[in-house]
């Protein structure tokens, strides 16, 4: 009898575990979403109705006044365009350089390969503030210090990306590459036609990581971008605070809402691919 009922019991236990996990997740949703929703709702409230306790979650009389103020105070669309441009350049560019470098470290044999890779990894341990001055000196000597190039050029080399892709590439069977070479593919051909198509999940995960990091980056743009026509959204947001923090919180909320909106929209449309790629990458 016991053996007859065992599969059924296991099934029930699995369902119970899944149900309890989903219940916990559903209960956690408001905790994660509440600050975002609150910020967006506040940005549509008039000053007299905002920032109240208990919080206002819905309003019958929304206003776009705070959004108007944002556009009055900063050239929002210029900043948005700059953020999109720099994020795209760094994301696409670093995927290319990371894939090339990672493949070299994963498959090609050359003297000092491991030592060089260790040096790259060591660079991960160095915080931004330490490299800020030498990087600025370098950019200045290249006459790039006041341009957007100074922000995206160093960003094209992403050590973490190289590390991540190297580990992924090493998991791909060599037999596939050998077969491709027998069919006449060159090293770059193998990378382009065999390795990269098989590495889409890792590439997607890396693109997400680099894209969001670049989008949210304030440190480098604040150092290099001192011309308003070149600034990014993060720098623009900080300038809204004012010299004495006199900037309106509601105007800040409006600007923040518009800043996260492109990422949210992107996430909504690519949610399935993102979660799949992150899951697959993490399993390796």
């Amino acid at each position: 009898m016991a053996t007859t009922h065992a599969p059924a019991l296991a099934k029930v236990a699995r369902r119970a575990r899944r149900l309890s996990a989903n219940t916990v997740l559903i209960l956690m949703v408001p905790i994660f979403l509440a600050p975002v929703i609150w910020t967006v709702v506040q940005s549509f409230l008039p000053g007299s109705g905002a920032l109240r306790i208990p919080p206002v979650w819905v309003t019958a009389h929304p206003t776009i006044a705070n959004y108007s103020s944002v556009f009055n105070l900063i050239p929002f669309f210029t900043f948005l365009f700059n953020s999109v441009k720099i994020t795209l350049i760094i994301t696409c560019g670093s995927l290319v350089t990371s894939a090339l470098a990672a493949y070299a470290f994963a498959r090609l044999r050359f003297p000092g390969r491991n030592a060089l890779f260790l040096m790259f990894l060591a660079a991960l341990m160095v915080p931004n503030v330490v490299t800020a001055a030498p990087t600025y000196v370098l950019m200045h000597s290249l006459h790039l210090a006041t341009s957007q190039t100074a922000v995206w050029l160093p960003g094209l080399i992403n050590v973490f990306g190289i590390f991540l892709l190297r580990q992924f590439f090493r998991g791909i069977p060599r037999d596939l590459e050998d077969a491709a070479r027998v069919d006449g593919l060159s090293t770059l051909g193998v990378l382009r036609r065999i390795i990269l198509p098989l590495s889409k999940p890792a590439l997607a995960a890396l693109a997400i990581l680099i894209g969001t990091t670049t989008w949210n980056d304030y440190f480098w743009p604040s150092i290099y971008l001192t011309n308003r026509s070149q600034m990014t959204l993060t720098v623009g947001l900080v300038s809204l605070q004012g010299e004495y923090k006199e900037g309106s919180p509601l105007v800040m909320f409006a600007a923040v809402s518009m800043t996260v909106l492109p990422l949210l929209v992107l996430f909504l449309f690519t949610q399935r691919a993102i979660t799949q790629s992150l899951a697959m990458t993490s399993f390796r």
Partner: protein, 439 residues
């Protein structure tokens, strides 16, 4: 259009419009147009979004006086003066050329000890006739502080410009409605606490906003109780003195009683004040455009900080030094003379966000841009105000004070324990790297 929107949009517009009227044209100028000085000058300044348009007006007017000097304005967007200084110094260390670097008191010593700024004495001596109106008119207190605590008896690096003291902006409507006498000069901590009982009768209505966001805001509590944050020369921490601890306890009590909103979240002083939900906020001139734009200036009365044993408040001021590395110091000096001149100070004052250090302009022009009752208090306070401590390590000191005061205002933690620990921490910052503290 709600009040907040009106506040910002109209504030900025009014500031630019007022500045555009160039009231200086009606005034005898102490700076005649000069086309002999030529060249290119790069000015780094704190790039706050709400003041940039007003700066454009200033630059345009500067070019009327010095048509052959091209100003390359570099707004550095930063969250604090220290991060602004870090960004500017990093860029200069990396080879970027700034000729002039806007610097509030917070970073003036730092710029000197880092060797960033150049002495002005030769220029001052050479152009003393041109600067005579400035020296005759500038509040002597700022000139004295500039010599004693900034230059420390050494060369002159700065000409003090606009300033801020920390005053109480009192909502007279709320006081009158609660049947509480509107505060006036000499009012006390006891008066403040007593007003809380009558004004804070409903949830969400506050007597005062105890803002932990800067040591500038906390210092008046200590000063009015006879205490200090640092010693007069900024070399020693005095945060554990009985007077300062008692002041901390008093401010904490205001929060515990619900007379002040607790830290955390967002609290908009202007919105709450306009809506009669906040009876007092502490501020310099920086929220004036918002108050004026919201048409709330009529119910404001500016008064001194309430006192326990003596008068006291914080003061800080701006300046525009020439950098040591400037390759066109003559043109940079021209800009500094311009900023000190009547026409520039009048134009800056017209923005409603700058308190002029020049007496004649304060009393002739500030009232137009800041019509609040008792605005003269900003001038009177300078006589007994204490400069906000600005050692080299002011960023670390300020961050430590903000953290502790936030703890103080948001909990019932023992003030003595907190302030003693804070004093040890701040002493470490001051001792770790010589006379100015860490850098």
């Amino acid at each position: 259009m709600d009040r907040r929107e009106f506040l910002k949009l109209a504030g900025a517009t009014a500031a630019v419009a007022s500045a555009s009227r160039v009231p200086s044209l009606l005034r005898k100028s102490d700076l005649e147009p000069d086309d002999t000085v030529t060249g290119h000058v790069t000015l780094a300044f704190f790039g706050a979004a709400d003041i940039i348009k007003a700066w454009d007006v200033i630059f345009a007017d500067f070019n009327k006086v010095y048509p052959n000097i091209k100003i390359d304005a570099v707004p550095i967007a930063a969250s604090t003066w220290s991060t602004y200084a870090d960004a500017a110094i990093l860029q200069m260390a990396g080879g970027r050329q700034f000729d002039i670097l806007q610097g509030a008191i917070n970073i003036q010593r730092l710029l000197i000890t880092k060797g960033v700024v150049a002495p002005l004495d030769e220029y001052i001596e050479r152009d003393k006739a041109q600067l005579a109106p400035y020296y005759a008119d500038e509040n002597p207190q700022f000139l004295a502080w500039n010599k004693s605590i900034i230059s420390k008896g050494g060369p002159t690096y700065y000409l003090p410009a606009d300033y801020n003291t920390y005053c109480c902006w009192v909502n007279t409507e709320m006081f009158e409605k609660a049947g509480v006498p509107v505060p006036s000069d000499g009012w006390t901590w006891d008066d403040l606490m007593a007003a809380g009982e009558k004004i804070c009768t409903s949830p969400g209505t506050y007597l005062i906003h105890c803002d932990p966001g800067d040591m500038f805001f906390f210092q008046p509590w200590a000063l009015t109780n006879g205490g200090t944050l640092l010693s007069a020369d900024w070399s020693k921490a005095t945060l554990d003195s009985p007077q300062t601890i008692e002041a901390a306890a008093f401010a904490q009590e205001l929060c515990l009683k619900g007379y002040s909103p607790k830290p955390g979240g967002a609290f908009d002083d202007v919105v709450e004040f306009v809506d009669n939900k906040l009876a007092i906020f502490g501020c310099g001139m920086w929220l004036n455009p918002g108050i004026v734009a919201a048409k709330a200036a009529g119910k404001v009365k500016i008064v001194a900080w309430p006192q326990k044993v003596r008068k006291g408040t914080s003061v800080g001021w701006n300046a525009y030094p020439i950098t040591k590395s400037s390759k066109n110091k003559e043109a940079a000096w021209s800009f500094i003379k311009y900023v000190a001149s009547t026409r520039a100070v009048v134009n800056l004052t017209a923005t409603g966000q700058a308190t002029p250090g020049r007496k004649s302009i304060f009393f002739a022009d500030l009232h137009k841009a800041a019509p609040e009752q008792g605005i003269d208090e900003f001038w009177n306070e300078v006589s007994y105000a204490t400069p906000v401590p600005s050692p080299d390590a002011s960023d670390a000191v300020n961050a430590a004070i903000i953290k502790t005061v936030t703890q103080l205002y948001s909990s019932n933690a023992d003030p003595k324990t907190l302030m003693t620990a804070l004093n040890t921490q701040v002493s470490g910052y001051l001792n770790n790297s010589g006379p100015g503290g860490i850098s």
